[in-house]
C-alpha cells in the first residue's frame, strides 16, 4: 500500500505544458526525500481541467493542483507530503467531476460521469486499475450469462443513440448486422475525431482505453463479429500509443483473443491510423480508407451494417457510444434510462471552448440547459461580456442564441429548432465577435476539407467563400446575401454526403438570427458605390 497517490493528468494538453517533466521531477524529489515507497505517482487521463497547465491530484486528501511547474515540485513534497499543509497558491478548488472524489465544488453538481467515470481516476496504462473499477465485468457477464440477442435487447431497452453526432439508435444498427448470415463481420470504432473544437474522443481514449476495447468486444459478441478495427486519426499519437498498450495488455490477460471467458466467442482488435482528412470521419469514407483506398464516401444504400468493410457487414460506432456499452450491460437498461430525458437517455460529453471562463471536458445528463452549461459549469463569459451565440456540435453544428439559453439540450429539443448536439463541441461566442467573420471561418474550413467528389460541395463551398469575401471586402449586395442563403439550402439538399449536407447548417443558422449583420455589410457597400 502507498499512503499517498499522486495522479498526474497526462493528456495532450498537459504534456504540451510540461507534464512529463513535472512527473520526472516528482519521482526524482520523492526518491531524494525517501518517500518513493510511500507515495506512488500515477499517470492518468484528463482530469477535465483544461487550459490550466499541468494538473495533479493528491489522494487520499483529493487536493487538486493546477499550473504546476517543475520548480513547484519540491514545495509540494516538503509542504503537502511531509508536513501535511496544502500549497494554497497552486490549489484548484473548482474541481470537475468532484462528486466522485471531493464533493465540494459547484462545477461538479450538474455533472454525471458514465463515459468519463474512469478518466482522471485510473492509470490508463494499467489494465488492473480498469478491472478494479468493474472493468471487463460486463464482458464476463455477457459471455457467461447472456445470449448475443440479450445484449442487443439490453442496449435497445436503454435507448442508447450514436454519439458521433447522428444519434441513430445503436441497437437498431446492431440488429441490421446481426441479421446478416455472413461469417465475416467487422466492428469499427470511429476515432477519427475531426470536428474543430471537439476533443472528447481523444480524452476518452487517453483516459480509459480499455472501456473502448470492452465496448467493441461486446458489440462483436452482439452482432457475431470476431474482428475489430479502431480507426484513430494519426495526430492522436497519445491515443494510439495508449490504445496499443491496452490491446496488448488485454491480449496478455486473455481478454482479447480466442475463447474469451471459456466461451466459444473470440475477438481481436487492430488499430488503423487516419491521415487527418476530415471526410474520413464519415463512415463509408473511413471504411474506404481502412481498405487502403482514397477516403471518399460510398453510395448509400447499402449501408455498412449490411455491406461495409470488404463488402462484409460492419458496425461503425463512435468512441463515446462504445464507452457507454459496458456500463449499460453491467448496470442495466433501466439504470441508463434513468439518466437524461425520455427521448434522449444517458449523458453527453461536451468539450466547451471559446469565450468561456472555465473551458474543458464535461459530462452532463441529456436535457441540461445551455444556461446551466455556460453559466454554472462554464462559469460564464470572460470580461463581463454578453452571450451572443453558441455553436453546438462542431463546425457543422447549429447556432443557438440567447433565446435558447433555457432550452433543454436533448436530441429532440434541438431537432425542433433545426440544430443538433452533434459531436459535442460547444463553442461559446461573446457579443463582441463578428458573426460574418465567424461564418467565413467555417466556410474556409469546409472548402479546405471538401473531398471534391461531388460538385455541390466542391464548388458550393468555394462559391460561398467568394460571396462572403465579396461582402467583407465591401463589394457585396443584398442579393449576394440571398444568394448565399439559396446556395446553402441547395447544398443541404443535394450534396452527396454528410459533409456537404451539414456544412450549410451554421451558415443558415447565422443568417437566420444575424441576417442584419450580413445585410449591413451589403448596404455599406451599396452606399459606397453610390
Amino acid at each position: 500500500m502507498h499512503r499517498t497517490h499522486i495522479l498526474i493528468a497526462m493528456d495532450a494538453h498537459t504534456i504540451a505544458q510540461g507534464a512529463r517533466s513535472v512527473k520526472e521531477a516528482l519521482q526524482r524529489e520523492l526518491a531524494l526525500a525517501a518517500l518513493a515507497d510511500e507515495v506512488r505517482v500515477v499517470e492518468t487521463g484528463s482530469l477535465g481541467i483544461y487550459n490550466k497547465g499541468v494538473v495533479l491530484v493528491i489522494f487520499p486528501d483529493a487536493v487538486y493542483y493546477t499550473g504546476v511547474q517543475v520548480q513547484d515540485v519540491s514545495e509540494i513534497i516538503s509542504e503537502h507530503l511531509i508536513k501535511g499543509r496544502v500549497v494554497e497558491r497552486l490549489q484548484y478548488t473548482d474541481v470537475p467531476g468532484a462528486e466522485k472524489v471531493a464533493g465540494q465544488a459547484p462545477r461538479a453538481g450538474k455533472q454525471v460521469r458514465v463515459v468519463l467515470k474512469n478518466a482522471g481516476i485510473i492509470d490508463p496504462d494499467n489494465i488492473e486499475e480498469y478491472i478494479a473499477h468493474d472493468g471487463y465485468e460486463a464482458l464476463g457477464k455477457a459471455l457467461t450469462a447472456m445470449k448475443p440477442q440479450d445484449v442487443i435487447a439490453e442496449v435497445k431497452q436503454s435507448g442508447l443513440q450514436g454519439r458521433g453526432g447522428a444519434f441513430f439508435p445503436t441497437a437498431l444498427k446492431w440488429e441490421f448486422a446481426a441479421r446478416e448470415t455472413s461469417k465475416e463481420k467487422y466492428i469499427i470504432c470511429n476515432a477519427d475525431e475531426g470536428e474543430p473544437g471537439t476533443f472528447k474522443d481523444r480524452l476518452i481514449l487517453e483516459g480509459d482505453p480499455h472501456a473502448i476495447i470492452e465496448g467493441m468486444t461486446l458489440t462483436g459478441y452482439a452482432v457475431g463479429a470476431d474482428k475489430g478495427f479502431i480507426y484513430i486519426r494519426g495526430e492522436y499519437r497519445m491515443s494510439i500509443n495508449r490504445m496499443q498498450k491496452a490491446i496488448e495488455q488485454a491480449r496478455a490477460h486473455g481478454l482479447l483473443g480466442k475463447n474469451l471467458f471459456g466461451s466459444n466467442f473470440s475477438f481481436d482488435l487492430e488499430i488503423r491510423e487516419g491521415a487527418g482528412a476530415y471526410i474520413c470521419g464519415e463512415e463509408t469514407a473511413l471504411i474506404e480508407s481502412i481498405e487502403g483506398k482514397r477516403g471518399e464516401p460510398r453510395d448509400k444504400p447499402p449501408f455498412p451494417p449490411t455491406e461495409g468493410l470488404w463488402g462484409k457487414p460492419t458496425i461503425v460506432n463512435n468512441v463515446e457510444t462504445l464507452a457507454n456499452i459496458p456500463q449499460i450491460i453491467l448496470k442495466g437498461a433501466a439504470w441508463y434510462k434513468s439518466l437524461g430525458t425520455e427521448k434522449s437517455p444517458g449523458t453527453k460529453v461536451f468539450t466547451m471552448v471559446g469565450n468561456i471562463n472555465n473551458p474543458g471536458l464535461i459530462e452532463v445528463p441529456m436535457g441540461i440547459t445551455l444556461r446551466e452549461i455556460v453559466y454554472e459549469i462554464g462559469q460564464g463569459i470572460p470580461g463581463g461580456k454578453g452571450f451572443q451565440l453558441a455553436q453546438m456540435g462542431g463546425t457543422t453544428g447549429g447556432i443557438l442564441t440567447a433565446e435558447h439559453l433555457d432550452l433543454p439540450m436533448s436530441v429532440e429539443c434541438l431537432r425542433e429548432i433545426g440544430a443538433g448536439l452533434g459531436s459535442g463541441a460547444l463553442l461559446v461566442v461573446d457579443d463582441t465577435q463578428n458573426v460574418v467573420d465567424l461564418v467565413m471561418n467555417f466556410v474556409e474550413f469546409f472548402n479546405h476539407e471538401s473531398c471534391g467528389k461531388c460538385t455541390l460541395c466542391r464548388e458550393g463551398t468555394g462559391r460561398l467563400l467568394e460571396l462572403l469575401e465579396k461582402l467583407t471586402d465591401g463589394k457585396g449586395t443584398v442579393q449576394d446575401v440571398a444568394l448565399i442563403e439559396e446556395l446553402a439550402k441547395i447544398m443541404m439538399k443535394g450534396a452527396f454526403c454528410g459533409l456537404g449536407q451539414a456544412a450549410p447548417v451554421p451558415i443558415l443558422g447565422c443568417l437566420k438570427y444575424f441576417r442584419a449583420e450580413f445585410e449591413k455589410l451589403a448596404k455599406t457597400a451599396g452606399s459606397a458605390a453610390a
Binding site: 499517498t4 485510473i122 488492473e128
Partner: protein, 120 residues
Amino acid sequence: MKTLADLRAIKEKAKAEMATREKNARFRITVAMGTCGIAAGARDTMSAIIDELNKRNIQDAIVTQTGCLGYCDQEPLIQIAQADKQTISYGKVSPEVARKIIAEHIVNGKVVADYVFNLS
C-alpha cells in the same frame, strides 16, 4: 482469463492497491508532521503504520498527514478518525506504540488507553 472468478481475483488485488484514492475508507489515520513531529520521529511512526497495515492486509484505512497540532511535547501525535465515532488522538507514538495501536484500535476496535491524549 477463463472465468469471472479469475477476473474478480485481479479486481480485489487491484482495488486494495487503489484504496488510497477512495473516500470510503473506514479509518483515517492522520500523523502530525510539523517540524516538531518530524523531529520527534513522526516519519518512523508513519513508516511503521504503513508497514503494519500492509502486513495485516488492512485495506479500509488511509494514512495521511497534517501539520503541528500545537502539542509539541506530545509528538509524535496521531489521530484515528472513524465515521460515527469520536476521533481519538494518541501522543508519544513511537513506532512500537504505533504497531500496537494498529493491532488494538484498528483490528480489535479497542482504544489503547495508555497513549490517548485529550486534545481538549
